[in-house]
């Protein structure tokens, strides 16, 4: 923001939204990382912590929404101010969803814990989560710096997450076919992988929102997609 408002209280309100979004982002990141760690190490206590942390994100989203409504009503923002406020509402809801997905992973820890995840699968899952977390971290940096040119590269990198998700999907199918006793834990892991893949999508949403917020234009073209799981069959695995 190059210049500030004549009404300083308006600046304070916008700063409040920015600060809360950054806090939400930090917590969402942490929840996702912890949920995967809990999953891989069968850490029930950590899983429980992730589940209870989700309330904080839910509250933050509500507070951001309320503050945004009050600001719109009182300041009648226009142009980039209006886009900024609408953007913060959208980003808050994406981050809240990221938290939900982390929480969902944490809830599955109990079901997966007893069965012992094969080392290779665990590594695949960790790698997927690492990528999604890098994505999330970078998009939050872009939010902090408001640099629209970086928003585009984040969207492109979502492709990589999709590709790894597809290969994990195939692997999980193979394990299930090998031994029916694997079906229960593998199905949970499949959901976990899907959840992580969705986190990448939310990061991409946020990147698009930031692009619109800063430029007033929509990112051109289709999202790059490399999620081939809809066409993967048991025989093809």
């Amino acid at each position: 923001m190059s210049s500030s408002h004549i009404m300083t209280a308006f600046d304070e309100e916008l700063k409040y939204l920015t600060r809360r979004i950054s806090e939400m982002g930090g917590l969402a990141e942490q929840m996702v990382a912890e949920s995967v760690r809990a999953l891989v190490h069968s850490d029930l206590a950590l899983a429980q912590k992730v589940i209870s942390d989700d309330v904080i994100l839910d509250d933050a989203e509500r507070e951001i929404g309320e503050k945004a409504i009050v600001t719109i009503a009182r300041r009648q923002p226009v142009a980039s101010d209006l886009r900024e406020i609408m953007g913060s509402i959208r980003i808050a809801s994406d981050l809240e969803r990221v938290g939900d997905l982390g929480k969902n992973n944490a809830k599955r820890v109990v079901a997966v814990a007893g069965s012992g995840i094969p080392r290779k699968l665990a590594r695949g899952l960790e790698h997927l989560a690492e990528l999604a977390l890098v994505q999330l971290k970078e998009v939050l940096d872009v939010y902090a710096s408001r640099s629209p040119e970086k928003a585009n590269s984040i969207r492109e990198r979502d492709e990589e997450i999709d590709a790894i998700y597809t290969s994990l999907f195939r692997e999980l199918l193979t394990y299930m076919m090998e031994d029916p006793r694997n079906i229960t834990p593998c199905t949970h892991l499949l959901f976990c992988a899907k959840n992580i893949e969705r986190i990448g999508d939310h990061a991409t949403n946020i990147a698009e929102t930031i692009y619109y917020m800063t430029t007033g234009a929509q990112l051109e073209g289709e999202r790059p997609k490399d999620d081939n799981t809809p066409s993967v069959g048991a025989t093809g695995a």
Partner: protein
């Protein structure tokens, strides 16, 4: 068939239509008050059946430009206008133009409601009488009722048409002034901050009126209220230090303006 190109053609046609529908065209308009230059080569077209809002900080030249459109500046001593302004392609500053007739075609409503110290009826009948637009009492009755109807005031005043116009509330007085402007059958109505002396309810009524009047008239409004410009206009022109900074669709102007000065002004930032 290529759908995209058809849409493009449609857009081009629309553009052509709107180009053909410029009611007034200002070209390189400059205004001097004695030595002081108040407007710098302003090029601004006023579209037919459109509400055009002129915005900008105090002293930016928006009212000066508005007043050039019906030569209200003629009354100010030492005021000089260069460039050209046309109404339906005819130069309004041409020697042959009768200024009184011009102002009947391009009417004006001012910041403060200024009804004549006469009855409501006479306030409206005055214009048509001096312009010879009505003769019989029935003619006058009709023009008075019609104008009051169009200004959304008839139902409120129909039982007291012969009471003084100055006895109405501020908002009613302003709508009376609009009815008075309508009575002589203008094509363009200029409004110079018509709501700045009104409360929010009266403002809403005048804004609703402006919105309705667009179907029959071309309207140019100067306003200090960004929200009012956003609410009532389809086109917005932003003035700054005597220059036209940006003219755009109002939707674009208030979501993603092209010019940094417009951005700073409408968002209430330090430039």
């Amino acid at each position: 068939m290529n759908i995209m190109s058809e849409a493009a053609v449609e857009k081009a046609l629309e553009q052509k239509m709107s180009d053909a529908h410029f009611k007034m065209v200002g070209k390189d308009v400059s205004v001097y008050y004695g030595e002081k230059r108040a407007l710098f080569d302003v090029n601004l077209n006023v579209r037919k059946n459109t509400v055009t809002a002129l915005i900008g900080p105090s002293g930016c030249g928006k009212s000066t430009f508005l007043r050039t459109l019906n030569r209200m500046n003629d009354t100010i001593e030492g005021c000089r206008v260069t460039g050209s302004i046309t109404l339906d392609n005819a130069d309004v500053y041409d020697q042959s133009v009768d200024v009184v007739e011009l102002r009947a075609r391009v009417g004006m409503v001012f910041q403060k409601p200024n009804p004549f110290p006469k009855s409501i009826y006479e306030n409206i009948a005055y214009g048509p009488r001096i312009h010879g637009l009505a003769r019989s009492k029935a003619d006058f009755d009709e023009v008075v009722e019609n104008s009051l109807q169009k200004a959304g005031l008839f139902n409120e005043v129909k039982d007291r048409l012969h009471e003084p116009g100055t006895g109405l509330s501020g908002g009613q007085q302003q709508r009376l002034c609009i009815a008075r402007a309508i009575a002589v059958g203008p094509e363009v109505i200029l409004m110079d901050e018509p709501c700045s002396a009104l409360d929010p309810i009266a403002t809403a009524k005048v804004e609703e009126l402006i919105h309705e009047l667009r179907t029959n008239f071309t309207i140019v409004i100067v306003t200090h209220s960004m929200q009012q410009a956003a609410r009532v206009s389809q086109r917005t022109a932003m003035f700054h230090l005597g220059n036209l900074v940006e003219e755009n669709d109002t939707d674009k102007m208030f979501t993603n303006p092209d010019d940094q000065r417009t951005q700073d002004y409408i968002m209430g930032r330090f430039g």
